[in-house]
């Protein structure tokens, strides 16, 4: 039961019939207006991506393309090695998600299920690293990775994910603490090893929490600009954000807006797909782990 509904349903003496509450009418109108404003840029992103080079420069902008240039979606792959960049981003994000899930789930399990010495100390340290701004450590990290000859490879973008990330560890730890001890006691009596309990008891019960972490990790890696800008120098290794950022660079006097919008639409596809597939699990995951 919702707050506003609960408070809005005070018994009314005048009319016995269910009435239209003014608060809800007002809310509804507000929502229609804001949703319209929120969706308008998205609508134009898609619509502009289907316009011709000439039409994209028209003012006022046309709502729907006069002639639908589906070929834009083919043309983008002829510009700027778009396909290669897309694949690079998918590979990097895919491996980062795998690394984050594996390591964060292990570490979170350690924090949640074992009351070992130093548990509190390390956990507080973990939480405080969430405050650590990446720019504060990026220069020494750069020096470190260049000593290892990792510059212009994907390794600096992938390897750190395999050592867990604070936010996701915290989220999974909150979830793991809610799993009943009896399950693990039963497993122990059956002679189950600790690592096997993690894999066969904890993980299968954590679908929504793991889905949430996977989505966070994917979005983080997929959208990241600063790290790939620092580490990738040859254009065939660029990720999508780096390639797209270069589209606005000075070598275009007039930015090719229609192609930029094609790129933006295509950049959204994996994220939207991920949400469509995992939406239920994702929302459940946020509620269950109670990010608070």
């Amino acid at each position: 039961m919702s707050i506003l509904k609960a408070t809005g349903s005070r018994p009314s003496l005048s009319r016995p019939r269910p009435k239209v509450e003014p608060v809800k009418v007002f809310s509804f109108i507000t929502l229609v207006v804001t949703t319209f404003l929120m969706l308008l840029p998205l609508f134009f992103m898609v619509s502009t991506s289907l316009k011709s080079k000439r039409e994209m420069l028209k003012f006022p902008p046309t709502f729907l393309p006069e002639s639908w240039q589906w070929s834009n979606y083919k043309d983008i792959f002829d510009t700027l090695q778009f396909g290669t960049m897309y694949m690079n981003s998918l590979i990097i994000a895919g491996l980062s998600v795998f690394g984050t899930l594996l390591s964060s789930a292990l570490v979170a399990y350690g924090f949640a299920r074992y009351r070992g010495k130093g548990n509190q100390f390390w956990f507080i340290l973990l939480l405080s690293t969430m405050m650590l701004p990446y720019p504060a450590i990026m220069i020494p990290q750069f020096v470190l990775f260049s000593k290892m000859n990792w510059i212009d490879t994907f390794l600096p973008l992938i390897v750190p994910a395999f050592f867990g990330s604070a936010y996701n560890i915290f989220l999974l730890r909150q979830f793991f603490t809610t799993l009943p001890d009896e399950l693990f006691d039963a497993g122990r009596i059956d002679g189950c090893g600790e690592l096997r309990m993690w894999r066969t008891i904890a993980l299968p019960l954590s679908g929504p929490a793991l889905a949430t972490v996977a989505i966070f990790a994917f979005i983080y890696s997929w959208n990241d600009l600063l790290t790939p800008v620092l580490y990738l120098s040859s254009s065939e290794k660029f990720t999508l954000p780096v390639g797209m950022a270069s589209l606005t660079s000075s070598r275009f006097r007039i930015p090719p807006w229609h192609l930029l919008m094609v790129a933006s639409v295509l950049a959204m596809v994996p994220i939207v797909t991920l949400f469509a597939v995992a939406q239920k699990q994702f929302v459940e995951g946020i509620v269950l782990t109670g990010i608070k």
């Binding site: 506003l4 509904k5 804001t34 009351r115 450590i137 954000p241 589209l247 929302v283």
Partner: protein, 297 residues
């Protein structure tokens, strides 16, 4: 817990958390300490660092661009973070009611948050275009002649602030989850006692969701102090340094001017400021933030 059991627990705990401990030492602690050392040196990343004492820090405080970046970043943060939080909370309250098309509205509000990063910067780069962009076109419906947004030093920062409101949907989701955890029985009881809508919100709902609010406030501040993508893609810090964000300044010093020592000093100041802000907020919030069971997480 007997000694053997306690040893067993400790052993397995460290076995499981060791990946993070190693990662922490290699990718966080070591870099932070080296960064501190670099900040006292003249260092171009290629040649070995040369110790110069506090010179980087004294230079920083006499550097106009440093102060510019501080003002720009603080102004951006202090406007965009509170407004975005209020919007997110407002949307969440609206959508927590049973209302027609609720599912559609929730999805629609959240959708823009899926276009973050460079794609969002490109889209809004077009929206703010004074000749062909959407923003001034909509303003023209109301007879307003819009400014040149990103090309005008007076408006560029505000354009970037307006852009952040578009992604209030991601905060909304967290607030919605928080609102769901407010027990309906509490509200019904208050309702029976004759408390009004506003009082219930102030005395029950708000305290119950205060941990979500605190979490988002701190994370929002930390993210906002680190704005980079918008400056890199849309404005290159301009026009006339009006969007010269702190991290953009830091990036430029290190990787364009090859002054990694000076840049490390900037990094340390950022680190200290973030820690200070977080500590102050945590301290102030102790009295206002309510955790179930009175414990802390």
């Amino acid at each position: 817990m007997n000694l053997r059991e306690s040893r067993r627990q400790t052993f397995y705990m460290y076995m499981f958390i060791s990946p993070w401990i190693i990662g922490f030492l290699v990718f966080a602690l070591y870099p932070i300490l080296s960064s501190l050392y670099f900040s006292f040196t003249d260092y171009d990343i290629i040649h070995p660092p040369r110790f110069i004492g506090l010179a980087n820090y004294t230079e920083m405080f006499h550097n106009d661009l440093f102060w510019k970046s501080v003002t720009v970043t603080l102004r951006y943060t202090f406007i965009s973070v509170p407004v975005q939080l209020l919007l997110a909370l407002g949307f969440a309250l609206l959508l927590h009611q049973t209302i027609p098309l609720r599912g559609f509205f929730r999805t629609a509000m959240y959708f823009p948050s899926m276009v973050s990063g460079v794609a969002m910067s490109l889209l809004w780069y077009w929206i703010f275009n004074p000749q062909i962009g959407l923003f001034n076109y909509i303003l023209s419906w109301f007879g307003i002649q819009g400014p040149a947004w990103l090309m005008n030093p007076d408006t560029a920062l505000y354009a970037l602030i307006i852009m952040t409101f578009w992604t209030a949907g991601s905060g909304m989701i967290l607030f919605l989850a928080g609102l769901q955890s407010v027990p309906a029985s509490l509200i019904e009881a208050a309702n029976l006692d004759g408390a009004g809508r506003f009082r219930i919100f102030l005395n029950i709902t708000l305290p119950m969701i205060s941990p979500v609010l605190l979490f988002q406030l701190i994370m929002g501040l930390i993210d906002s102090f680190q704005v980079f993508t918008q400056a890199f893609v849309m404005t290159q810090g301009g026009p006339n340094y009006s969007t010269w964000f702190y991290v953009y300044n830091l990036y430029t010093s290190a990787f364009k001017e090859y002054r990694a020592g000076y840049s490390s000093a900037l990094a340390w100041v950022l680190l200290v400021v973030v820690m200070l802000f977080t500590a102050i907020i945590m301290k102030l919030s102790k009295r206002y933030v309510h955790y179930e069971g009175g414990g802390h997480k």
